[in-house]
């Protein structure tokens, strides 16, 4: 899409809407059927979604992902080994599944990061994660600049990173701040307060306010980033989410219980049943709607148009403005920023 009015934009641009002249249609043309055509195409091809979960061990990351996609998609489900030892260094484990709903196929990849934040010395434990994310960008870049490239480049880039905050009730830990500072520039980070059933309602809202303030003070732009709001409608919607709901305080569960005659996902304790999808109990439903029902496509777009473009620009700059030509020459330039 060419820009009719060239604007100096420091960042790689999201294509602007072309200036349009509103004309009255004399009859029905059928332009609106393009939506239906796109829908059919998407249903045929399906789409990729890669979600990464980061947080200390035991915060319920795997359970939450299972609950989000209502199926056993996490690493814990695939490995039958319940007796897990904390790995000595951060590992990256990616598990892919194909899930289908309403004729739409989604190739979902869940990337887990066991070992993050669990050691005594956690300095630079985010480096393997940053490296992995950049490697995926590199893979995509290589495919893109190939002379004979595939029709549909397999997209392994991380579209969304859920960062699990421990519900201490006090404030963010230094590790949380360091991780988010480093990674909010390369990937969409959605901070999530884990195991929120540990806090009462007042503690929860106090904690959320404090976390929001700390993130702001430290200049951490989590998704949805303010600078990428396209128009007023987006801005108001996202502002509301940013300032009131985020970070989402969630509870995950893959067990069902009977409550008021319905089967609900929840946690059964001697003092009551915590319903995962009950908005009075926790904000899981908000997170699910946000990630899957309203912002899924936007997450992918921001990853492709902004984060990937930033990486690409830097790579090309380092290379003197030239694209990395062949696969062999590629290998020698192994400098990942």
């Amino acid at each position: 899409m060419s820009e009719l009015v060239p604007e100096p934009r420091p960042k790689p641009a999201v294509p602007m809407k072309p200036m349009s002249i509103n004309s009255n249609l004399l009859g029905y043309i059928g332009i609106d059927t393009i939506i239906e055509q796109m829908r059919k195409k998407t249903m045929k091809t399906g789409f990729d979604f890669n979600i990464m979960v980061v947080g200390q061990s035991g915060l319920g990351k795997s359970t939450l992902v299972n609950t989000l996609f209502k199926s056993q998609v996490s690493r814990k489900a695939s490995s039958w080994n319940r007796e897990e030892k904390i790995p000595k260094t951060v590992e990256i484990k990616a598990i892919g599944h194909v899930i289908e709903e309403g004729g739409v196929k989604m190739k979902l990849t869940v990337i887990d990061t066991p070992g993050f934040g669990d050691q005594i010395n956690n300095e630079n434990c985010w480096e393997p994660i940053e490296k992995y994310i950049n490697e995926q960008y590199e893979k995509f870049l290589k495919e893109e600049v190939n002379i004979a490239r595939k029709k549909r480049i397999p997209d392994t880039r991380v579209h969304c990173c859920l960062y699990f905050i421990s519900p201490t009730g006090h404030s963010l830990r230094p590790l949380d701040l360091e991780f988010m500072k480093h990674l909010s520039k390369v990937v969409n980070i959605i901070p999530v307060i884990a195991k929120a059933d540990t806090m009462t309602l007042e503690e929860k809202s106090e904690f959320k306010q404090r976390v929001r303030k700390e993130l702001e003070v430290n200049g951490i732009e989590f998704y949805p980033q303010k600078e990428f709001d396209e128009d007023l409608e987006d801005k108001t919607e996202n502002d509301k989410i940013r300032q009131e709901s985020m970070p989402f305080a969630v509870v995950g569960s893959d067990k069902e219980y009977q409550v008021n005659g319905k089967r609900v996902l929840g946690r059964k304790t001697p003092w009551g049943i915590i319903e995962v999808e009950n908005l009075n109990h926790c904000e899981f439903a908000l997170l699910r709607d946000f990630v899957i029902r309203t912002h899924l496509q936007d997450l992918k777009e921001v990853t492709h148009n902004i984060h990937y473009e930033t990486y690409r620009a830097k790579r090309l700059n380092d290379n003197g403005g030239l694209p990395p030509v062949s696969v062999d020459t590629e290998e020698s330039h192994d400098s990942n920023p």
């Binding site: 035991g58 005594i120 421990s166 201490t168 006090h170 230094p174 001697p270 009551g272």
Partner: protein, 371 residues
Amino acid sequence: MSKQQPTQFINPETPGYVGFANLPNQVHRKSVKKGFEFTLMVVGESGLGKSTLINSLFLTDLYPERVIPGAAALNTRKTLLWEKIERTVQIEASTVEIEERGVKLRLTVVDTPGYGDAINCRDCFKTIISYIDEQFERYLHDESGLNRRHIIDNRVHCCFYFISPFGHGLKPLDVAFMKAIHNKVNIVPVIAKADTLTLKERERLKKRILDEIEEHNIKIYHLPDAESDEDEDFKEQTRLLKASIPFSVVGSNQLIEAKGKKVRGRLYPWGVVEVENPEHNDFLKLRTMLITHMQDLQEVTQDLHYENFRSERLKRGGRKVENEDMNKDQILLEKEAELRRMQEMIARMQAQMQMQMQGGDGDGGALGHHV
């Protein structure tokens, strides 16, 4: 019709009964007068509810005759909303005098804010270990001193180690810390914020922790078995206590209305967690254990940990260190005196040389040459 003789000198009726079975009562009366001292240390990451639990343990509003002056001192860090948590470990000790039915307890709670918060926690328990050692050192010093009448016992008698309920067991930091102090203090592991866990999760976590403690050979405090002459209730209670270690607790000082009466607890949209309900958590068990075994905790600290420390200290030449302390000033004075002496000597020698030279000149000058 014997007149009322002074009753204290009548021979007791039972033959062969001397009366020294009364000794424990005398000891009891003396101890009650003297009062008890107890030092409790709490260690754990921030946000695990340590301060709340300590307040809940000792700040009961159920006993009106309890006198608690300065109890606000125990509410240390809960109000620090915007302050950054100090990244180095601090030691904060607060003392409170509690009295119940004439028995005085001088309780010191040692808090350790900053533990486990930094990105690199390699050194975070050095401060804690040196504090514990310092108290032992001070006691050793007082004990070896001339006036031993009023030794204040600030040694740490018990350490509550708070384990996060969010993990799958012990973290590497937990293991490293407990191994570093299990020979210095009685460790009582406590699972914090237990209302995060369902019953099954709680059992699994407890078992996991016990397995890991055994695997790493960590010596936690073991409740002594009930003596065979104790009553059945006490034996049963001890058995229950031993089976529940590590205790999973919830702390709170808010009164919530539940089932028609006011209880201490936490109010959630899905129900109320009652602090003092044994089905909800082990708070009562923890408190019972602490109260009934306070004496034993002190004994083990004295007989085991302190003796360990003492023998190692003395082996290392503890006496020398002690004397050094006392004589440091003396040594300084001595060294100063020596310095002065040497300076005087040098001055004298210089004067002598001067005189010799002058004498030569003078001789030459004044008297001329002797031929």
